[in-house]
Symmetry: C2
Subunit: 127 residues, 2 copies
């Protein structure tokens, strides 16, 4: 591992940029799964317990069945939520966070905490 003039030019003032790069990778992995308009809202909804399809849709204003269906599939694929089908007539379906999905609770908690403060700020500012 040698340090060349070239490298120095690239990081003149902040030699901790290696640390930044190292932190970036996990953050990117998280964002790959969680980013988008709906996913965290859906996870938040499931945080309160298992929910049925239409129930989630009712709780989250603006969420269309198409988007909800798509997002739930992705949550399943990523191991964050489970889908349970009950043999009623007509069938009832419940969605539920997996144990792994529940590990997102602290993150959701922080998001809510910050959002609450932010909401106060923008409301008092009038926009």
């Amino acid at each position: 591992m040698e340090t060349t003039e070239h490298d120095k030019r690239k990081c003149p003032t902040h030699l901790n940029s290696g640390e930044c790069t190292r932190m970036l990778l996990p953050v990117r992995d998280a964002l790959d799964i969680l980013s988008g308009k709906w996913k965290l809202q859906i996870i938040l909804s499931l945080t309160f317990g298992k929910k049925r399809f239409k129930q989630i849709q009712r709780e989250i204003p603006g969420l269309t069945p198409k988007m909800l269906s798509k997002e739930l599939k992705e949550l399943e694929i990523n191991g964050l939520a489970d889908r349970h089908v009950y043999d009623t007539a007509p069938v009832s379906v419940e969605y539920e966070l997996t144990t792994y999905g529940k590990t997102l609770k602290p993150l959701i908690g922080e998001l809510h905490k910050w959002g609450t403060k932010h909401r106060k700020k923008i409301i008092q500012q009038g926009g």
Copy 2:
């Protein structure tokens, strides 16, 4: 505040859905500002200290100047970052988190924490 038959049908099993709705609003406000592929990565980068335009771009692989420029403007508008122009020749510009922007550190911390565990999981699974 009266409870009608209609309302009961809409919330048959989970009467805490009001609580869910209440939590949803701040979360949405937070997501409005923070969602997208780059914003949290840029904020993370600025967490380590003030940075110059190209420096941020170098630290975040794949980030084009167009996107960086756009995202930085939005961070400024939302009061999360400041832009300082120094009268050198050619001008140098530094970006820095505001005090308010720094309140995002716990959230970024959780994102990093969860991302780290998640990264381990997907790597050991092979994708």
